[in-house]
Amino acid sequence: MKRLFLIPLLCLSLASAQDLRINVPYTQFTLPNGLNVILHADRTTPRVSVNTWFLVGSGNEKPGRTGFAHLFEHLMFMGSKNVPTGKFDEWLEAAGADNNGSTNSDRTNYFEDLPSNAMELALFLDSDRMGYLVEAMSPKAVDAQRDVVKNERRQSYENRPYGMASLVIDENLYPASHPYHWPTIGSMADLSAASFEDVVQFFRTYYAPNNASLSIAGDIDIEKTRALIEKWFADVPRGKPVPLIDAPPAYLSEEKRLAFEDRVQLPRLYMAWLTPALFKPGDAELDIVSNILTAGKNSRLYKRLVYEMQIAQDVSAYQESQKQISAFQIMATARGGHTLSEIEKVIQEEIYKLKNEPPSQREVQRAVNQYEASFINRLERIGSFGGKADQLNSYYAATGNPDYFNEDLARYRNIDPRDVTAFVRTYLREDGRVVLSIVPNGKKELAAPGTFISVEGK
């Protein structure tokens, strides 16, 4: 057992909390075909996570073909030139591995978590689908996954209470030509329209090594791993330079007030604003704002709405940090007998308070301490979504520095309560936001003031 801990996994010094420094040592290199590689050794468990990011997401889609990046993600598991359909999963499972992928507006990521002896299997599979996917692709495979994805949309959005909220909010928050205007899951009509030719074109445009980053964390030998990566990925052909997203500026100069009826028992209110992009000034401050408003019993909105007044069942807020521009959202569900107007009034009062007076030092410190603890927690896992391999790729994509942990944490530590107030004033405006009510069928009177719309698919 001692063997496991011989190698210092992380250089952590903990003389005092303020001194906490996190280093995730890594080796980085680029193959001649442009593939970026990040390697990090952690021998705690005899497992390896092989994580790949492609810098393509639903933001790269064109109107009329929404949902395509995500549909394509599904096709990446259907086999490639040298991997017959079904074998991708079968071979990995037979080696004791798990795998998955996910798509958002900005990127698509994939991982295989395996016993360390099986790492080369992942390199074979990943290089084969990165280089030679379309050779094995058939219209039949596309049709099969089209049906699966339509069911994913039904399960995750249409048949879920309040499930259509995020689609309606994004549609109204971003202008029609903005890449965040449409949902990653896509519309049913666009999913039906996606053709086999679209698949080939999309693959050739975006799934090239020069648009990807491979991050491997776990029980690895750096030099041997490097050699194996060169062995499997060297023949993957470089693609053409990837077209950049030409995102038009997004701003809201009005308050859009909307409402719709749904198959739900309780009304729910959403408020959403456009806010600074990931790692831009204001991004971390708005994370702290979300904590001050809704994290824990003493947070301002939870304490008033849920704990004291008891007119809401829940309230939450978060800064959804994204590459082009972010969104800040507050959401609260009213208890039986209460209206969304009552809820909105309290939320508005608390926003005013934050605009007029900086939060207390203790409130900010409480939030920062929670972020600090979360940074420690994030060092435990190597694999899956959010494990170290994925985090290294994430930081690399956003900043060019895979080990951006300390810089990220420093953003929170350096926050002055007065900054919080300044950013709330600038971004959480009443004349630039979306306010959405979702109310039970036939109970329009529970909505906050707003125009009722009909929502397809609810």
């Binding site: 980085q28 999963d89 339509k150 249409e158 048949n159 209470p161």
Partner: protein, 488 residues
Amino acid sequence: MKTNLKNLRRFSTFLFALACLSLPPAQAQKVDRTKPPELGTPPSLTLPQIQKATLSNGIRVVVMEKHGVPLVQMNLMLRAGAALEPQDKIGLASLTAAMLKEGAGDKSSLELADAIDYLGASIGTTADNQSLWAFLHTPLSKFDEAFALFSDIVLKPTFPANELERLRKERLTSLVQMHDQPTTVAAVAASKLVFGEKHAYGRGTMGNEKTIRGLTIEDVKGFYNQYYHAANAVFVVVGDVKTADVVAKLEKTFGSWRKGEPATLKIPAADQVKGRTVYLIDKPNAPQSVIRISRVGADRLTKDYFPIAVMNTILGGSFSSRLNNNLREVHGYTYGAGSSFDMRLAPGSFTASSSVQTAVTDKAMTEFFSELHRISEKVSDQELNRAKNYLALGYPGDFETASQIAGQLGEMLYYGLPDEYFNSYIKNVLAVTKEDVQRVAKKYVDPENIAVVVVGDQKTIQKGLEGLKLGKMKTMKIEDVLGKMPVL
């Protein structure tokens, strides 16, 4: 920043070297892609030693030192689960667990929450059928302060009556919200129909409107006094700690906890489902039907544990399992389909489930039953080996984080599994034969004696389901499952 700069420099030197070395171009060294690479011997997982101690009042403590990441996970398991509550007080165990955090020592509910949050720690208290689970997860640097709060929460709860009223409202509202969630409706219905409303596994742990409205602060105090004591308690601690320090800390605070009498938890084995009935629960205009096919399965200590694990992996426990492959990959009826065994003190449920597109509900049901029959008829060597390897070789992945390891150790303690359990797991999985798989499939997956629950759009799917002639059909409303919606 310094480290990063250094890394960058190393990186650019290397780039240069690589550029020189990689001529002639990469095509020269073709790699053989015609078959997957040969893999070496799988590594073995070597866990840190399991350390055991007993406090002076008899509380057993298990510690695993896991160094590297400076945090601590501490789990307290207490025999104070919902199976102990009387039929007219369903929800009492879980309410008592929740009330622990509503005031303790000299701190109010808000003061406690503020202190915990300020440390960046998390403390949770919940009850399932069998146990109260209280856990502490904290950065190592805050362990002492967080442990003091955790101890007060367990040992010195104040149970303020006004906080109970608050939780009562919250729980009644949760009952209301359950009516919105088709997967929850299906799960509650299946438990009730398979185990009966009086069985611990059939009645649930949250309570119904009547019991939630009836529970008092005296009930909570009574339940606490009856079951919260040393004779029912076990601790598991995993993290960047020294065993001797942790045991000393626990002795100082929990070593003098009243000993009490150990609770006897008797959960009878439920009668098996007889025959096959289809319960169609109407969710008007739903775009998908939630299907849940369920019967009584096996208990955690069954001798069939490993054969069942392998059989279920083949049937519906992995991505390439038969159910997922058939319903998702081959037919595109769903985003996912699977099966599971819920193994507890008494036999829990076997369940096969999915959410399928409304229009194909009957076709999907046909495929479900085809797979439930086929699993006891034939299993290929390839499937068997794949499932065994998936479980055996993937096992170390269950021991990555402190909270995962604490969960594994807790299960070991709770069920009295032998010390060598972890070490013999792989051997036991690999020993499972085809005959074992078919035997347990016949025994536990009997598709003739099973409850079929469907939550979906009755007007669209009823006819098709009746046409399958699976058995008697009972149509129900969501209120028949969850009860009338509470009015607040």
